[in-house]
Symmetry: C2
Subunit: 239 residues, 2 copies
DNA sequence: AAGTGGTCTAGACCACGGC
DNA sequence: CCGTGGTCTAGACCACTTC
């Protein structure tokens, strides 16, 4: 008997069907999914294959399995610790994101940042400073540094409109993978206070992040200063 | 033929042996691990079982598998987004942790916190406020709330000495699983400034966390205020 | 007792990588 | 080409939960 009709592995087809039913609302949190034996019979596969499908889904947090009881749809997955750009954060809160480019130039004297990006001390970096607004109100000041030689086509006008993340994806074919971030607090200096429209000394969340692409290389360094009255970071940490 | 000699599943024994060799330095990053077929022959198990061992190890990030090439030891695991208590943070920096209990009492009028712990509005909560020092220097102010009825045995003196995490583990058999945290920035008020020995208005990292046990219940709410000059949070976020 | 997930066998063919 | 991991079979027994 052939092992699978098309190019897709059987266990993936089974997963896809279950995911589809969950997405369609046919299966809700806590509902029982077919047992391994039922799935095997339904899809005409062996027990191990049906099992493979469920094991995988459990690892992804889609279902929960209980010995002796059955397999059940897990609580809706919450996207913690998800790397999102400012544009996405705003969209998620139903605020209209907007940017004002304050600075767009190439620098070559940022040794520490170059080092964090895995470049030589005097590497040319495209520096980009933006005031970030949500529905017209100032939220944050973000300064990005990218290797200049990799992003020669970047222009001032591209940036005021779209999200940098989507420009990287669409124009440069770069998929971001993860970011290592350092979070602390700082007080607004005179310039920052003016731009963010807060009193001097106002507490700000400071986030310094090195963002890596799926190819494993550091593609971007971002220093962000966020108004603490309008921004907070939600994370989940595990024991 | 018996399926396994003792109570431990074969695939776990295989994993333990590989982990042991890595820990002993016998296998280093990039080194090849035995192939599935070799492992099966060595341990006298079937291919599927040897495979199970490696699949699991790969999921945990211990090894990397490459079709057609082999299985290799992955780069040393970095513990990002790990839930650690103050005591552990300090120990990791070679500072001697110490606590000064400022308040230890039962309250019943913290509606919002009770709600976050999944309790009724007027639930009795054990409130515990501690000044946290590292090698004698003030680092943070932490206020914990626990369901009072579950922790009747807690005493003032237990707390000034050991870490709360270890008390929960040793005296109450509670294993912590994860924490959902909200991070932002605030400015020190007069009282806090005095305790932390910083000027008024000094920026502080504020972390509010709900900590869950392995049984899935919320066991603790913690409000922490950290001196931003001595504390920063390192996290990794994924796309 | 019946049903579930957890472990396991002894093979098989396929797709891919490096030589 | 040969060895690797990826998929898969058609069963088996065990441990556990539910009734």
């Amino acid at each position: 008997m052939p092992q699978n009709r098309n190019g897709t592995p059987a266990y993936k087809r089974i997963q896809a069907l279950i995911l589809k039913r969950i997405k369609a609302g046919e299966l809700k949190q806590g509902d029982a999914v077919e047992s391994e034996r039922e799935l095997a019979k339904i899809h005409g596969v062996s027990l191990m294959t049906a099992r493979h499908a469920l094991t995988d889904l459990e690892r992804e947090g889609v279902v929960v399995r209980q010995r002796g009881a059955g397999t059940f749809v897990a609580p809706p997955k919450i996207h913690f610790n998800k790397l999102v750009g400012f544009t996405e954060v705003m969209a998620g809160r139903n605020l209209t994101p907007c940017s004002k480019v304050l600075l767009f130039s190439v620098v070559d004297n940022e040794r520490e940042i170059a080092a964090r990006l895995g470049l030589t001390d005097n590497a040319r970096l495209q520096k980009l400073e933006r005031l970030r607004l949500g529905s017209g109100e100032p939220f944050a000041l973000e300064t990005c540094y990218l290797p200049a030689h990799e992003f020669t086509g970047l222009t001032h006008t591209m940036l005021s409109r779209g999200s940098l993340f989507s420009i990287l994806a669409n124009d440069y074919g770069i998929q971001l993978a993860y970011a290592d971030e350092e979070v602390d607090a700082s007080a607004a200096d005179a310039m920052t206070a003016h731009l963010l429209q807060v009193p001097r000394g106002h507490p700000l969340v400071r986030i310094r992040q090195v963002i890596y692409s799926t190819k494993g290389s550091a593609t971007m360094y971002v220093l962000g200063l966020y108004r603490s009255d309008r921004y907070s970071l939600s994370i989940r940490r595990f024991r």
